[in-house]
C-alpha cells in the first residue's frame, strides 16, 4: 500500500539529487529491496511504472534487486534465512539473532543515456 508513497519519494529524490537534477531521462535505475524492508518489490515496480510517464523515469528500465532476509544464530552458529527482522531462529528458536541482513531500501545506481553532444563518442 505504501509503495506509491515510496515511488513518489524515488521520483522526488531523483529530481533533486545533484547527480540527476536537470537530467531529461534515465536509461536504468536499480533499487535494492530487502526482504525485511517491509516493501513489496512487485508493488514498488508497479507504482514506479505507473508514475513514470512524463518524468525522468519514463523510458528507464527499472531493476529491483531482491535481497533475502538473513541473520546469524549464535546458538546454531550458522546463517539462517528469516522472514522478519525480529524473528527467533527458525530451527532452534534462539532469540535474538545477530548480523541481520536484508533491510535494504536503497536507490543503488542510475544510468544515463549517451550525452547528446557526444552521440558517436570521440
Amino acid at each position: 500500500m505504501h509503495e506509491v508513497s515510496l515511488a513518489l519519494e524515488v521520483l522526488d529524490l531523483l529530481t533533486h539529487h545533484p547527480e540527476t537534477a536537470g537530467a531529461p531521462r534515465l536509461l536504468n535505475l536499480k533499487i535494492r529491496v530487502g526482504a525485511l524492508s517491509g516493501v513489496d518489490p512487485d508493488a514498488l515496480q508497479f507504482a514506479l511504472e505507473s508514475l513514470a510517464e512524463g518524468t525522468l523515469l519514463e523510458d528507464a528500465q527499472l531493476e529491483l534487486i531482491r535481497i533475502p532476509g538473513s541473520a546469524h544464530c549464535p546458538a546454531c552458529c550458522a546463517q539462517k534465512t528469516i522472514e522478519f527482522q525480529l524473528s527467533p531462529c527458525p530451527d532452534c528458536g534462539h532469540f535474538p539473532l545477530t548480523e541481520i541482513e536484508g533491510t535494504d531500501l536503497v536507490i543503488q545506481d542510475i544510468e544515463f543515456p549517451p550525452h547528446p553532444l557526444n552521440p558517436g563518442g570521440a
Binding site: 500500500m1 505504501h2 513518489l8 519519494e9 522478519f84 531500501l105 557526444n118 563518442g121
Partner: protein, 287 residues
C-alpha cells in the same frame, strides 16, 4: 595538450567515452533517508522539551480513539497530571480530533487524503501547531518546567501495514488490536507487531460473546515480538486500564525494546493537508 584545438588544457585532453557510451552513477541513497532525518529532528526536539511521544497504531476499528479518550480522562484525573496533547491522523475529516477536544485535551488533526500513513514531516508541522509557546524560540527554564512530564499521543492512520515503515520521531510505538479481529492478527501483519514497544489487546469486555482464544493471541504476539510487554484491556469497562496508565506514567524511565531503535524514514507527501482544530480557550488555559 588539448587534442581538439591545442589550447594546452589538461582537462579537455581527457579521453572521450567510446561511441554511444552510457554513464553509470552509484547513488546508494536510502529511500527513507529524508524521513529518517526529519524524524531525528522531531526526536531531538521532543527530548529537549521533555515530551514523550506515543505512536498509537492499529487497523481501522480496533478502538484507538475510544481508548485514547478514556486514557486522557484518567490521566487528567491523575496527580500530578502530565501535560497532554494529541495528534490525530485520518485520511479525511476532523471527527477524531473533535472527540479528543471534548475531553479537554488540545488536539490537532492531520488529514493525509490519499496517504496511508503519517510521516515525520507531517508530525513536525503538527508539533509547531500544538506547542506554539515553545515554537522555534530558545527554551526558557519556565517552558522546560511546563513541558516536562508531557505526553503526546499520535493516533496514526487506521492501517496495520504502511505506518510500520515510517519513523515519526516518537519514543514508543504502541500497537493495538481488538478481540474481534482474530488471534492471528500479529502473524498476518508481522512488520507492525515486530516494531511494537507495547502491544495492547483491546475490547476484552466482548470476550464472552466471541470465540477468541486470548492465550493463542498472546502466543501470536510472542512469536513475532518476544520482547514487547502485552496488556489486555477494555476502554468501555475500564478493565486493564490501570496497567496501561502505569506504563504511560513510567514511560520516561523505561528502557524500551525498540521504538527509536528501528528508525526508517520520511516521505513528504505533496497532497497531505493539515488542519488545525483550534483548542478552546479553556483547554489552552489548562496546565
Amino acid at each position: 595538450m588539448c587534442i581538439d584545438c591545442g589550447c594546452g588544457s589538461a582537462l579537455l585532453a581527457a579521453p572521450k567515452r567510446p561511441a554511444g557510451a552510457t554513464r553509470r552513477r552509484t547513488l546508494e541513497q536510502q529511500l527513507l533517508g529524508r524521513n529518517a532525518a526529519t524524524a531525528h529532528e522531531n526526536r531531538s526536539w521532543l527530548k529537549e522539551k521533555g515530551i514523550h511521544a506515543i505512536n498509537l497504531l492499529a487497523g481501522p476499528g480496533a478502538g484507538k480513539t475510544t481508548l485514547l479518550e478514556q486514557t486522557l480522562i484518567r490521566l487528567m484525573a491523575h496527580r500530578p497530571a502530565p501535560q497532554l496533547r494529541v495528534i490525530e491522523g485520518d485520511q479525511q475529516t476532523s471527527l477524531d480530533a473533535e472527540r479528543i477536544l471534548q475531553t479537554g485535551v488540545p488536539a490537532v488533526q492531520i488529514n493525509t487524503e490519499k496517504g496511508c500513513h503519517l510521516n515525520a514531516g507531517m508530525i513536525q508541522t503538527a508539533l509547531r501547531a500544538l506547542y506554539p509557546d515553545t515554537g522555534q524560540r530558545p527554551l526558557t527554564e519556565e517552558h522546560r518546567k511546563k513541558d516536562s512530564g508531557s505526553l503526546l499521543f499520535i493516533e496514526n492512520i487506521g492501517n496495520l501495514v504502511c505506518p510500520a515503515l515510517w519513523d515519526l520521531g516518537e519514543n514508543a510505538k504502541v500497537v493495538l488490536f481488538s478481540v474481534t479481529e482474530g488471534e492471528e492478527k500479529p502473524l498476518k501483519y508481522p512488520d507492525m507487531f515486530a516494531a511494537a514497544d507495547l502491544i495492547l489487546v483491546s475490547k476484552i469486555d466482548l470476550l464472552p460473546h466471541l470465540r477468541f482464544d486470548l492465550d493463542r493471541a498472546l502466543e501470536s504476539c510472542r512469536r513475532i515480538n518476544p520482547e514487547a510487554p502485552i496488556l489486555s484491556l477494555s476502554a468501555i469497562t475500564g478493565e486493564g486500564l490501570t496497567a496501561w496508565l502505569d506504563w504511560l506514567l513510567t514511560l520516561p524511565s523505561q528502557a524500551l525494546p525498540r521504538g527509536a531503535r528501528l528508525a526508517p524514514g520520511k516521505t513528504r507527501l505533496a497532497s497531505a493537508r493539515f488542519t488545525q482544530v483550534p483548542p478552546r480557550e479553556a483547554d489552552l488555559a489548562r496546565p
